[in-house]
């Protein structure tokens, strides 16, 4: 999937994460994590983000996470929604392919 515009999903409520994705213009993957959890869980969050991006075949985009203590499954959900909103693919999601 190609990221063609800036889009966000999620909220800044407790247990959630607000994720913004935007085109990286050939810059590859950039992942920025903000929030109190970044220092302790940054590595794990990065792994979840990388895995989700790979699942959607996204190789070129900037991801910004404002984390409020979201579980891995919430990060996956919010990133998936943000990618679909920012990407060039429409139609039914391949649910069976998602982790």
């Amino acid at each position: 999937m190609r990221i063609t515009k800036t889009a966000a999903a999620g909220t800044l409520e407790s247990s959630d994460v607000l994720i913004t994705v935007e085109p990286a213009s050939g810059g590859g993957l950039q992942i920025d994590i903000e929030g109190a959890t970044a220092a302790r869980f940054g590595k794990q969050i990065r792994a979840v983000v990388a895995e989700t991006l790979a699942g959607f075949g996204v190789t070129d985009c900037a991801v910004r996470l404002q984390d409020k203590g979201a579980l891995d499954c919430t990060i996956r959900a919010r990133l998936s929604a943000a990618l679909l909103r920012a990407g060039d693919e429409t139609g039914s999601v391949a649910w069976e392919a998602l982790k």
Binding site: E13, L71, C73, R78, A81, V93, W95, L98
Partner: protein, 297 residues
């Protein structure tokens, strides 16, 4: 016996509530993708509930998802995603005809095939929220072998009827009774509507008692505080349990003697009374009161 005394309503786009929904020990959780989710958040809520169902462990609590109507832009994708995630039951809103159930059943069948889920494993529930649906309740209840419960949604129903809800529930009395009869005729469960005034515990308990008396198997709840109140109303009293035990003991003894007629506490006991006693013992056991299996069967 699967209990559906309480079905806790959880807005599908609220990550904190989706994450914690199991800790209140309702019999079922109903994740909502419909009315509680804004139009522009439908996609995000679908992903949130999908990922929660795939990842989080809700124990033995039944996981139900209220999807959007199939004739709109979101319903079909909701059903596909939830079946792929392994939901226990799909709850269809605003059901008006048996055909509404047949249509959702077709999408569920397609999704079970596509995602390799056991054919027939996804159950269905139907919420009936208008006069047309209530008048078609019998046909709706019989529309699919997957259907395990029908529910009444009173807020939309009273709007459809050009009235409002009263504390006594006069305006929904006929609808409630028709719904229970339709459920019983089809051998499925009947679930009562939500009670919106969370702070009015007395009014809530009164409504739960009314629903139970009408024959409902349980109630949709919108706040964890409502769960213990419903459970208490649906748990048989000590006197009811003791009486049921006496009836079952007497009937077993009569069977051993080859006699069909018995009396307990000076009153004749016939088949419906035995059925009620057995149901009370099942309910007591399922509510956490130890009842030996040989007595319950």
């Amino acid at each position: 016996m699967k209990l559906r005394r309480t079905m806790l309503y959880v807005p599908g786009n609220n990550s904190g509530m989706v994450k914690d929904a199991h800790i209140y020990r309702s019999d079922s959780i109903m994740f909502d993708l419909e009315d509680s989710v804004a139009l522009r958040e439908k996609d995000a809520a679908r992903f949130l509930v999908f990922n929660a169902l795939k990842t989080l462990f809700y124990g033995d609590i039944e996981k139900v998802v209220r999807v959007n109507a199939l004739d709109g832009p979101f319903g079909r994708e909701d059903v596909l995603a939830m079946v792929a995630a392994g939901v226990d039951a799909i709850r269809l809103p605003k059901t008006e005809t048996a055909d509404d159930i047949i249509q959702v059943e077709k999408v569920v069948e397609e999704a079970e095939r596509r995602y390799g889920r056991k054919p027939g494993s996804t159950k269905l529930m139907a919420a009936i929220e208008g006069a047309k649906g209530i008048l078609n309740a019998r046909e709706i209840a019989l529309a699919s072998p997957r259907l395990v419960a029908i529910a009444i949604g009173a807020e939309d129903y009273v709007t459809d009827l050009h009235t409002t809800r009263s504390p006594e529930g006069t305006e929904i009395f006929v609808a409630r009774s028709l719904l229970v009869m339709a459920a019983r005729a089809a051998g499925i469960m009947a679930i009562d509507t939500v009670y919106a005034d969370v702070n009015n515990e007395e009014g809530f308990e009164k409504e739960v008692r009314l629903a139970k008396q009408l024959g409902f198997d349980g109630k949709s709840v919108i706040h964890p505080l409502q769960i213990p109140i419903v459970n208490a109303v649906y748990t048989p009293t000590k006197a009811e349990i003791e009486k049921a035990l006496r009836i079952v003991a007497a009937i077993k003894e009569a069977e051993a003697r080859g006699s069909g007629v018995i009396s307990v506490d000076g009153k004749m006991v016939d088949k419906p009374i035995v059925e009620r006693a057995l149901r009370n013992l099942e309910l007591a056991h399922a509510s956490g009161i130890e009842i030996p299996e040989e007595v319950r069967s």
